[in-house]
Structure formats: C-alpha cells, structure tokens
Symmetry: C2
Subunit: 236 residues, 2 copies
DNA sequence: AGGCACTTGTGAACGGGTGCACAAAGTTGA
DNA sequence: TCAACTTTGTGCACCCGTTCACAAGTGCCT
C-alpha cells in the first residue's frame, strides 16, 4: 500500500488537491468520495482506489476530512518542502510562466530567469531580473535548483537541457517542441500546445464525419456501442 | 485496422509528425521504424504498431517514405483542413498562445482573441486586435470556429466554456486550473502547468529518498525526511 | 535467378489500470 | 443497545496498451 504509487494515480493527485483546496476555501470540513470525485471529474471508485494507495485516510459512513487529506496528498507529492525552479527562456511563454501564480502557491520558488537574448537580459519579469544564460551553472549550484523549465525555441532546447543536467538538475519540464534526450536518472515531462490542438482536431474531424453519416442507413452505426468510430464503410 | 485508432496512438501521432517534418527539412527521404522511433523517443515496436493502425504505409526492407507518411498522418489527424480557433483570455498565457507560431504551421487559424478586460481590448497581439468577450457568440458563428481555447483566470473559465459550447464549439483546450463541465458531445483537453510541476516534485522527492536510503539499512524508510511540518506523529 | 540482409506488420503473452460489487466499519436515531 | 443507513476500502474480472518475437515481404549483390 505504501509501496509504489501507480503513475496514473500520481498524475491525478494534483487534481484532487486542487479540488480539495477549493472545498477548504469554501469552508467544507468533510467530503465523500462521490462529491470529491464529481469535483475532480473522475469516477468515485477510482478516487477511492487512488486514495487508498496513500493510506486509510477516510472514515466509513462519513467521508474524508478535507484539511487532513490536503495535508496527506501534499506530503505524498512532496509539496511540504520548497522546490527551487529555474526558468530558461523568457519569451512569451517564459513571461507567462514567470508571472504564473500557481507555482508559488504550491510550494515552488522560481530561483531565477535566464535568457540568451541580450535585449531581454536585465528586464524585470514577475519580480525577478532576467539573467544571462551563462549564469546557469552558477544559479543551479548556488540556489540548489532541483527543477529546470525549458521554454526556449526548439533549436536551443537540447543544449540548455544538457547544461541543466550537467549542473545537477534531475527533473525537467519541457515546453520546447523537441524530444529531449537525457540520462535515465533524469525525469522529463513535456507540454506541447500544438500537440494538444492536433489531438482535438482528430476528434473534431471524427465528429464531423459522424454527423455527416447520420442520414446514412442506420444499420451500421447501431452496432458500435462505443460511440463508434463512425467511419462506417468509408473506403479511401 | 482502419477501425478506431486507439487514443494512446492518436496522442503520439503529433510527435511522429514533428519528427518527420524535421527529417523532411533535413532532406531525408526514407526512414526506418528504428530511426524514427529514436527521434520520437519511443520504442520501435510501438511506433510500428501505431502506424499500422493507419494502414500499411511502409516498405519492408526499406522503411517509410518520409513525405508520404507526413501526408498520411496529417490527413488522419485532420490537419489537411483548416481549423479555426478562438482564444479567450489574453493575459500572459493568452499572449504567448497568440504569438505561438506552432499553430499556424499546423493548419490552425486563430480567428479571434477575446478578453473581458477593457484595458486589453483594442490592443494588437500577434497581428490581431483583441475584441471584447461579448463578441464571443458572433465570432464563433461568423467565423465558423471549431475549437475554443480557455486561457482565462479560474473563476471565469466555466462561464466562458458554457458560452463557447452554447455557441457551437465542440472542442475545448483548457488552461485554467479548473475542471470544466461540458455535455459529453464536447471534448475537453486540459493543460495544467502546476500539475506537471507537482508530478515532477513527486518523483524528485522519491529520488531524494532513494539516494538517502542507499547507505541506510532499508528498514528506516518510515522516518520523515521532511523537516518537521509538525504533524509527525499523527495516528488515525 | 537465387541467396542474403534488412525491415515491416502482427499474433500472442504480459502488465497495469478501471469499474463493479460488496463486505467491513462507522454513524445516527430510537 | 440495536437496527437501519451511509460510506470506505478492496477483491476480482475485464479491457486496453505495451512488448516480444517472428513470419512475410522487399531490395541488393553475386
């Protein structure tokens, strides 16, 4: 139970945490798995199983104490300690990240902003002065940075990543549209805006296809309980 | 094979597409599953299985023709048509999105930028004049918008989403840190920066714990490395 | 023409995650 | 105290995705 929380569960814990803090702000003291699951947009069984991986923090017949659960999830995610983050690349996205309040409120501290462009270095963004990217190694070492955020243009990303890793960073959040190569001791997560849009486009296209096939003899459509890939009999 | 491409595969197609266009720019004509898989950061077997869902587009003994595969994936993702996108909320993140080149290059057109703040309305961002959020319904209808991007603060997100859906949008990309409720005919994808960081923090924490326990008899794991948040001895 | 080297496409085994359904455990009210 | 009710925690069956391993197909060289 304590041993090894499934990845899928870990990925959902922040969602639960968000829902719980909202509930706490509204003054809710306890919450049932059903309610919390609804707020988080998952099934109640899944939620209970997820939480059971952390321990037995609920009370049968009652539910979960909001504040206590917030603490337990925070602790499990490692949010009770302060993580220092360095953001490399202060373009449009870097600006957004530097000004994003969600970091600080969750126990993350932006240790520094770095950029290779002389025109940006020296500017103040989100309360921090942008420093030259050459300070990378110094910043990571002196400030004890754990997490690197890569928000550079694609061509610079791998190089920046290499330097982060060499300097001792073991987790990287990558916004650049490239696949970063790292030693397997380092964890990389990628966020790609255009990828998300393309996935949406795929489903849009399929929906459109479905809509068009509505007036087609219904026989074929009915077979697929799964909502149907709809592509009934279309041959290329 | 033609019937219903798995979600996991769809999510990877944009990655393959990116790798392929890079290869194409470098003048590569054909590529093996091994090479392409390496460039995309996945296993070669997975890549082949993914591509096999689209059809038999490879040549045994040779590999895949880059340009042809680009076309096939693009078509499957629906990128051969132009999708019109409206971005609601032109704060830091909205700015970044509006200026992001990756949209246009992939067949997405930003139809309009909307914001509720009078101080921002009228500004020109990424070549477009920001319009008041009241124009939402008009924009969606007149411009034939398919996809809505929600980049508003959390409190406004659900309302904006409702209006998008009511106006006819069937896909939503949500950057606000809330779970959007939509009818199940509408598809929502969520991108949450702080969620990603929290997942990294979890793995960081665990790595640190592992490092510490290397030279310690394994039993001691139960100790809290966490610098005394107080609640150490709480028993249920 | 025939063998060799290479690469795709896929059947089959495997593993992890999801959802159901229910027993266990706690609460409330009489 | 006891019975009725609520809600958690979990065993189990199922499903989807991943990985392995290999037969089948293709080009090249002799």
């Amino acid at each position: 139970m304590r041993q090894g929380i499934p990845d899928a569960t870990v990925a959902r814990l922040p969602v639960y945490l968000r829902a719980l803090t909202t509930l706490a702000e509204d003054g809710t003291a306890t919450v049932s798995s059903e309610e919390l699951a609804a707020a988080a947009g998952v099934g109640s069984a899944k939620l209970r199983k997820d939480l059971s991986h952390l321990g037995s923090y609920g009370t049968r017949g009652v539910g979960y104490e909001v504040e206590y659960l917030v603490y337990q999830i925070s602790r499990e995610l490692g949010l009770t300690q302060d993580w220092r983050v360095v953001i490399v690349g202060v373009g449009n996205l870097g600006h957004a990240l530097a000004n994003y309040g969600g970091f600080v409120s969750r126990g993350f501290t932006v240790a520094a902003l770095l950029d290779a462009d002389d025109r940006i270095v020296g500017e103040t963004v989100g309360g921090l002065v942008v420093r030259p990217v050459d300070d990378l190694e110094e910043v990571v070492a002196d400030q004890g940075v754990h997490i690197g955020v890569v928000a550079t243009p694609a061509p610079a990303a791998q190089d920046v990543c290499d330097r982060l890793v060499a300097a001792g960073v073991t987790s990287v959040l990558n916004f650049a549209p490239v696949v970063l190569l790292v030693p397997d001791t380092v964890m990389v997560r990628k966020v790609d805006l255009s990828t998300e849009l393309q996935i949406l486009a795929f489903h849009e296209q399929r929906q459109v296809a479905n809509r068009l096939s509505v007036d087609v003899p219904a026989r074929v459509v009915a077979l697929e309980p799964d909502g149907g890939t709809g592509r009934a009999g279309v041959s290329p």
